[in-house]
């Protein structure tokens, strides 16, 4: 399946991937409403990390033998047979955070209410995830590996 990979050498830490991710998953699909009025606010499902001149964004790599799926207490996490992504059923997620403790990338995030996990879903409906399409520097690649 296709996954999003980082090209650290050209990432400038602009955080646009976070912003577009957030927008893509927001109810309002409107940047101003999202930041000023949405409550709870949709948070990005990826994270930009920076140290000195090094920066990159981290998101779920849709692991094959996904530790989060194996660890999930409720069965809310499962591999989606159609897309191949590791998908969460928010109805069944209770925010126990066991998945997050098993994720080697620290790629699982807590929603703003801190009662559900959120993770990269590779933007269903989009041919290429929005973090990749909107990266101004081609620091992200969506590649079949």
């Amino acid at each position: 399946m296709k996954r999003v990979y980082v090209n650290e050498a050209v990432c400038i830490g602009c955080h646009l991937c976070e912003v577009y991710c957030q927008l893509q998953h927001a109810q309002s699909k409107d940047l101003v409403k999202l930041f000023k009025r949405e409550n709870p606010r949709t948070l990005p499902r990826l994270r930009v990390e920076e140290r000195g001149i090094v920066s990159f964004s981290v998101r779920c790599q849709q692991c094959d033998e996904a530790p989060c799926v194996q660890a999930c207490l409720t069965g809310a996490l499962a591999r989606d047979s159609l897309s191949g992504t590791v998908a969460v059923d928010p109805e069944r997620c209770i925010g126990c955070w066991t998945c997050l403790l098993f994720c080697p990338l620290g790629a699982i995030r807590q929603n703003e209410g801190q009662d559900k996990m959120i993770k990269c879903d590779l933007c269903p409906g989009e041919e290429v995830p929005v973090c990749v399409t909107n990266c101004p520097n081609e620091a992200l690649a969506y590649v079949e590996v």
Binding site: Q70, R92, C96, L101, G106, E138
Partner: protein, 448 residues
């Protein structure tokens, strides 16, 4: 009429371990007959969710660990509400309570644990409960529904199950007192600092905690109802109900007295095989490999049961697979406090190095020995705790960068490049063919 059923695979226990095995057996063998049996009458449900059931009435359909059509879709014959009463390992037969027998080729014991009932007076009274099954949660729910005034409960045991019960009871507006024998709650999975955070959160929610004490007797009022409990120091606490949460003991009844090697639980090798041919065990009933201690231990948590079951199932179906090991690992969310812990959290002596960082409401600590992480506790900011857990699990020597592990903004970027780069970048062989060209960073400035 006694009747014998023949099967290739028999799994006893329809919970985390049993489902892990059933799924992996089906990955390796689509057809071989597979029977999954449990004395609980429900399709596999998430056991920890009994707290949500009690607290907010979460229905069984929303507690199911797998979709309703799971058994049918996977060709699994599931026998619910049926108890296995005897195991004949020599002849590969088990006997059920109703007299039926099942003849199996490969057997998995995923029988979990049963709650320990302390040997004190009054445990047979109305209003005394354990808290490990959906039926337990239902019984408590029924009990609470009889009352139209505040109910007082004493929870005996301040461990994980005690906390889970307390959290649910508080949500039901029950006034709870937790009685813990040791000097602090959650003492086996948290260090002092994190225990204190939890205790403060409990007290904030109106829970009384009594430590260093145990209940000597459950007192009855009239007509076999509970009047209160008497502590060892003579104090009495009035209450209408008691939850026994002092621990869970591996359910060994099928193997006790037989030749199978057991310690506190059933001893299994790295294939999750027991000392008896063709019999495997996993989950709360088994002592599997603990990668921190380098020896077999009970590690009774849900993920370990599932993963152990998965390994057992593959081996049962003839696909050799090694269990990489588990350890005590817990994520807690009780009373709005997010805490994770794993491994040795409170080192027993001075031969360990402890690195900690406490900033406001955030607490991070790792315990090291010989350059390896052997324990961790984080509270407040837990999002990147999985990175630390996996460094610990993979036995990575962290001596060169140990201080960063507890940094406020710890992430993959805090680690040496040799660790994060292969996790995030396109594998080199594929990079050649990839769409994006790599140019020196100086030449690709935004806005040009």
């Amino acid at each position: 009429m006694a009747r014998t059923v023949k099967t290739k695979y028999l799994v006893i226990g329809n919970s985390a371990g049993g489902i892990g095995a059933a799924e992996s057996i089906r990955e390796a063998d689509r057809k071989g007959k597979l029977i999954l049996i449990s004395d609980e009458p429900y399709p596999a449900y998430s056991r920890p969710l009994i707290a949500e059931h009690l607290a907010e009435g979460r229905p069984l359909e929303k507690m199911l660990y797998r979709p309703a059509d799971f058994y049918e879709k996977n060709g699994i014959s599931v026998m619910l509400g049926r108890k296995v009463t005897a195991l004949d390992s020599q002849n590969h037969i088990v006997k059920l309570a109703d007299g039926k027998t099942i003849d199996w080729q490969k057997l998995l014991l995923a029988t979990g644990g049963s709650p320990i009932v302390p040997a004190i007076e009054g445990t047979d009274l109305n209003g005394v409960f354990t808290f490990t099954t959906l039926d337990d949660a239902r019984a408590i729910d029924d009990f609470l529904n009889q009352y139209h005034r505040e109910v007082r409960a004493v929870v005996i045991g301040g461990g994980l199950i005690g906390m889970s019960a307390t959290d649910a009871l508080v949500k039901r507006k029950v006034r709870v007192t937790v009685v813990e024998l040791k000097d602090r709650i959650l003492n086996t999975i948290l260090d002092e600092e994190a225990s204190a955070l939890e205790a403060a959160a409990l007290e904030q929610a109106g829970v009384d905690i009594i430590t260093g004490q145990t209940v000597q007797r459950i007192d009855s009022s009239l007509t076999s109802e509970i009047g209160g409990v008497t502590l060892e120091d003579g104090r009495s606490i009035g209450c209408e109900m008691v939850v026994l949460a002092i621990g869970v003991r591996p359910r060994l009844e099928l193997v006790n007295g037989g030749g199978m090697k057991t310690n506190r639980g059933i001893v299994v090798d790295r294939h999750m095989a027991t000392s008896e041919t063709d019999i495997y065990a996993c989950g709360d009933v088994a002592e599997g490999y603990d990668f921190i201690y380098g020896e077999n231990r009970l590690t009774p948590v849900w993920p370990n049961a599932y993963i152990g079951g998965r390994v057992a199932g593959l081996n049962m179906a003839g696909t050799p697979m090694e269990y990489s090991g588990g350890t005590a690992v817990n994520a807690l969310k009780y009373f709005g406090e997010n805490v994770v812990s794993a491994g040795v959290v409170a080192p027993p002596d001075g031969g360990y190095e402890v690195i900690a960082n406490k900033t406001g409401h955030i607490y991070k600590k790792v315990v090291l020995k010989d350059g390896l992480i052997i324990g961790m506790v984080l509270a407040g900011d837990i999002e990147t705790s999985g990175i630390v857990y996996n460094l610990m699990k993979d036995r990575v020597d962290v001596s060169g960068f140990k201080e960063v592990l507890v940094d406020d903004d710890f992430g993959l970027v805090s680690l040496p490049e040799s660790i994060w780069r292969p996790m995030l970048e396109i594998p080199a062989d594929i990079k050649e063919a990839s769409v994006t060209s790599v140019e020196p960073p100086e030449e690709v400035l935004v806005g040009e």
